[in-house]
Symmetry: C2
Subunit: 262 residues, 2 copies
């Protein structure tokens, strides 16, 4: 089994080291990850400048390939240029910090897994829900059990769908269980802190509080807040189908007083 | 009517100038756009470094505010810090190049509109389907007609849903009409061009071809390829609900041989 491992915290992060170490027990691992931290990179890709690829060694052994781009770049580069045979599965993480609810949209970790899904490769994203995470091992063990399960269940998970896994930052014995979840609706109440630089010029730093609106345990944020692992199937078809159906009745072309369709 | 205008091509692009000029006919326009081009920025936001905001003048008048960040940053900054009263609607564009099918995922233009949707503000994204677009005027005129329509129809477009509009790069008389569409499934067959720099080191530049798989005119890419304007309602709930329902039957906790839920 060939496993491509990436992340958004960068190739030197602890989370990707632990993930790669555990996954090597169950398959042949290739690490392709950003050279520098790319948190909140979203699904950006690099087109305006070229990319470089640098080998990274740990303990005198090849650990992986550092790409001077985004998480999505790493997956494209890993699959198209670095791996001789495409991977059977892509695993992204283990991220420092929750990637639940609205954070799914901003997350580089999830975007790496989503890029794999776009490229028809099964994938998973793993995050530990603390920006100064301490407990990666349980998430890594869970990856080793979920990877074969996802491959075995490919007839039930469509091409283009990935599993987004969030693990509470707790010792294994304090985790209450596993919940299948939906993307929650909690989102950020953004604040820009205004500061002044040494030259008297203003600058702004994004901060804010997560406004928690999800209480049911079948929502990702509520599950992890209650010390459950959250597993959410997500895809990249953004069409709002119910609104599409409503809008059919608008006859938008007439509303806009435009020429008829030919 | 207060309209916040942004884009991903940068505040100096032609598309945003034309869009702002037309929208000023129907409302009070505030332009907040990236200082530099941010194409394919996806939904990235800037957290690792602070942002600067610079006023931009055109013809000795304040044109807008340039933010040293991404399209999503511009919307957050515009709504939270720059506009005294929040906007009634956000319009992003007019982008150079199609944002249909898979490009919706990579697009900074769409992400600016999506960030507005996340912040509960109605929004639209406009793109002209050519990287060297020549015909922005029809898209700008369409914006002036769609903005009031979207505000009038807010009871039918849920909070969190935006309209993604793609306009063929043609003279108005050659456009065949308007189609309500779904996000198509066409995607890129990526290629990294390998080159060598003046110092003998390799670098890689992303290129590729769009593999066209959508033929029905209710798909965005097919509509624009057939010279129709495409309007797609999109949202940011990425949950794959059919797969969620299938996975319920897995009883994933038992499959993973984990402890029971408490």
């Amino acid at each position: 089994m060939r496993i491509l491992v990436s992340n958004d915290d960068g190739i030197d992060s602890i989370g990707i080291s632990i993930l790669a170490k555990y996954l090597k027990e169950i398959g042949e691992v290739t690490v392709v990850a950003p050279q520098r931290e790319q948190s909140a990179a979203g699904h950006s890709i690099t087109m305006q400048v070229p990319l470089r690829v640098n080998k990274v060694f740990k303990n005198d052994e090849l650990f992986g390939y550092a790409v001077t781009g985004t998480p999505a770049d790493c997956i494209k580069m890993g699959i198209r240029n670095i791996m001789v045979t495409p991977p059977d599965i892509v695993v992204s993480g283990i991220n420092n910090g929750s990637n639940a609810a609205i954070n799914i949209i901003y997350s580089g970790t999830v975007s790496a897994a989503r890029e794999a899904a776009i490229m028809d490769v099964p994938s998973l994203a793993f995050s530990v829900t603390n920006h100064t995470a301490k407990h990666y091992e349980y998430a890594a063990k869970l990856a080793c059990r979920l990877v074969p399960l996802v491959l075995q269940k490919q007839n039930e998970i469509p091409v283009g769908t990935l599993l987004n896994v969030n693990v509470p930052d707790l010792p294994e014995e304090e985790i209450k269980g596993i919940k299948l979840t939906k993307q929650g609706k909690s989102k950020w109440d953004d604040i820009y802190e205004e500061r002044t630089d040494p030259y008297g010029r203003k600058y702004y730093w994004l901060t804010g509080n997560l406004v928690e609106v999800d209480e049911e345990l079948d929502n990702d944020h509520a599950a992890i807040k209650n010390n459950f692992v959250s597993i959410t199937p997500i895809h990249f078809d953004l069409t709002d189908y119910p609104t599409f159906e409503k809008m059919r009745k608008w006859e938008i072309e007439h509303l806009l007083n435009n020429k008829e369709s030919k």
